[in-house]
């Protein structure tokens, strides 16, 4: 299967400007988007990055896609201004019904926009900049054009941050990118992670490990957050290095015996999936007993598999050679950090993210003054601003994202 081609079952993003929608491609599926209904079959076999237009209920590849070249409009050419323009609804002669009518008759978006321009009383008196902006706005509204792209950490994070930031603890992309840098996330390392960001941070880490190295995801509650992983569509060998351990077991890690795993291997039907609906009560207690009978039901095998993985993860952590500790969750970070810090090898980075500053202030004080063996402690936040870059119209974008969250970073040392 060519990874560059859109195929049945792929998780993709429909992209239109900054708008992103996650869709799973199924040839028999119809989608309802932007007040239009269309089938997905038309995208199959095309390369990722292709632009499609909704035409008569189908997605059709856009041929002869014209570049939107910004006109060589400069302020020297502007001879009009807006001193006489009055903002009235009656400036547009076409009614909403007229437009709906045209759409039903199957008129193309370009056609509709042409009509809108012709029927606009004020269009000809607008400045050229203003005319461009008007057309761009109408296009955005009436054009049902989408580009199909492959999900990447950048796009997945953007989608979460734009639509449901609280679910990822308001972690903005710039801060997420710094977590990966400061923690020195690279192929081959062993990561301890605690996150409540729907698995977005976990996904970003797995992506950078690319199947080499291990992630032990500690969690509080019923199951480790992993919703975002569906967008990544990781191969099985990537996921076989990812483990989950309840935080409630942290206090017994040092007491667990150093023994090789003796649970039966059994048939590994699938990597056990964690989702929020799972209510396996056994997650709450560690069962080190050998499963006596391996020829049992699938769910029991899965349970054994999970126990085995949990045991494996604990043995890994117990050796106190983990390469980094990353915390990005809704819980108070200080107790989590102070209990897991001992399992990080010396001269390794630790990174703690928090939506709020105060918990990191307290964590800093603990790490600094309790002689916990951390140097180079640094508390920071990031300020990011986007720019509109157009000839004679370059300026920072008018709205700015207010909050990026805070980071506390440091390096472990031998006391």
């Amino acid at each position: 299967m060519d990874l560059n081609t859109i195929s049945e079952g792929n998780q993709v993003f429909f992209k239109k400007g900054d708008f992103l929608k996650a869709v799973q491609i199924r040839k028999n599926r119809t989608l309802y988007m932007d007040k239009k209904k269309f089938s997905l079959a038309g995208v199959l076999g095309h390369p990722y990055g292709t632009k499609f237009q909704v035409t008569e209920g189908r997605l059709v590849k856009m041929e002869n896609w014209l570049k939107v070249t910004e006109a060589a409009t400069t302020s020297d050419m502007i001879t009009t201004d807006n001193r006489d323009l009055l903002d009235k609804d009656s400036n547009q002669k076409m009614t909403r019904d007229d437009i709906m009518d045209l759409k039903e008759k199957g008129a193309s978006a370009d056609n509709i926009i042409e009509q809108l321009v012709e029927n606009s009383v004020t269009f000809k008196t607008k400045t050229e900049f203003s005319q461009e902006k008007y057309i761009k706005k109408k296009k955005k509204k009436h054009l049902a054009e989408y580009r199909i792209v492959r999900p990447t950490t950048r796009l997945i994070c953007q989608m979460y941050f734009d639509t449901k930031p609280k679910s990822i603890c308001c972690m903005r992309m710039d801060t997420l990118s710094q977590i990966l840098s400061y923690a020195n996330v690279m192929s081959g390392i062993n990561v301890m992670l605690v996150e409540t960001c729907q698995g977005l941070l976990l996904g970003a880490i797995i992506d950078r490990l690319a199947g080499s190295g291990q992630v032990v995801q500690f969690y509080s509650g019923q199951a480790p957050p992993r919703q975002a992983l569906e967008y990544y569509s990781f191969a099985k060998d990537y996921m076989s290095n990812v483990f989950a351990v309840p935080l409630s077991l942290v206090s017994i890690i040092d007491k667990v015996k150093d023994e090789p795993d003796e649970l039966p291997t059994g048939n590994r039907n699938e990597t056990p999936k964690f989702d929020q609906a799972t209510t396996n009560k056994d997650e709450a207690k560690l069962d080190l007993q050998e499963s006596s009978d391996s020829a049992v039901s699938k769910s029991s095998l899965r349970q054994t598999q999970r126990e085995k993985e949990k045991h494996q993860a604990i043995q890994l952590v117990k050796a106190k050679q983990m390469d980094t500790l990353i915390v990005a969750c809704k819980y108070d970070p200080t107790p989590i950090v102070t209990s897991l810090l001992r399992y990080v090898a010396p001269s390794r980075p630790i990174v703690i993210y928090c939506q709020y500053q105060q918990p990191l202030v307290e964590c800093y004080m603990q790490l600094r003054y309790q002689n916990l063996g951390v140097v180079n402690l640094k508390l920071s936040e990031t300020w990011t601003r986007n720019y509109q870059v157009l000839p004679d119209r370059t300026h920072p974008v008018v709205s700015m994202s207010a909050a990026s969250g805070f980071l506390l970073t440091g390096t472990t040392v031998i006391q």
Binding site: Y48, K51, P349, V361
Partner: protein, 327 residues
Amino acid sequence: MSFLKYNNKIKEGDTVIIHLSHKSMFPAVIQKGKTLNMQYGVLKHDNIIDKTFGSKIECSKGYIRVLHPTAELWTVTLPHRTQILYTTDISMIVMQLDLKPGCVVLESGTGSGSLSHALIRAIAPTGHLHTFEFHQQRSEKADEEFISHRVKDMVTVYHKDVCSDGFGLTDMADAVFLDLPHPWDAIPHAKQALKSSGGRICSFSPCIEQVQKSCSTLKECGFSDLETMESLLRTYNVSTTKIPLADLGEHEEDLEEDTEEDTTDTITEDEKPPKKVKMEDEANNKMADQSKKQSETPSVIFNTTQPAETVQAGHTGFLTFATLYPR
């Protein structure tokens, strides 16, 4: 030691980071018999060999710590041959270029190799970095460092001016990074070098005029999804702070009580946040004691942040990103 693989024991030939304090760190290549003179006296390399990274090493007038190198520690300690990129911009670049193991990246110019190390880290072990530098000595120095840092098989250094001569590569890169005075000259070459299945590009420029011209060229060459931004890091110092309470005169209720004893406690109890924080460590006990002694000036103690420096970086450069979609 390798920048791409942790190793616990320090060996001869390793590049290490000598840590005196968070403001004072520098790199060193460990060599038998070598000594280093610095603030805490004489440091003998022989005392470092076979120790574990993260260890305390005694010197004649104090101690230092030896840290395992990472791309981030290298960025803040490397010898500058040019102005460099720092972790804030570097992180955004790696994220926006969609880098991960296996990617092929082109970089021009190499400069002092700050970004190069982070690019290599992101794409290792299966990707490759092709980095171009038009200054011969700088390109040689970068090459030496890559060898010393044991990442040489991940990177190829070219002594070449990509603006006039192009990259000389076609249809093979997932991402291109440009940090040049005239990036618009390199953009058409970048387009040729990117894979026909598409890729990402980034141009870093300090001046807005450079950004405008680059964006205009990117559009002409058929790039999409242009985005220009800048990112700045705000760092904070954390400390226990004491602020005095003003004299608001005596209240009727207080007149009947012995205010001398209760001063500190009463006032802080009535205060809404910030609350008085109990701290175990000596420094804060001292402060609390002092405050009780000076009961004429009651105060509130709390843990808080303040900007690490009064003047912090206000601008490094503008980052412009774009995508080349398949034709």
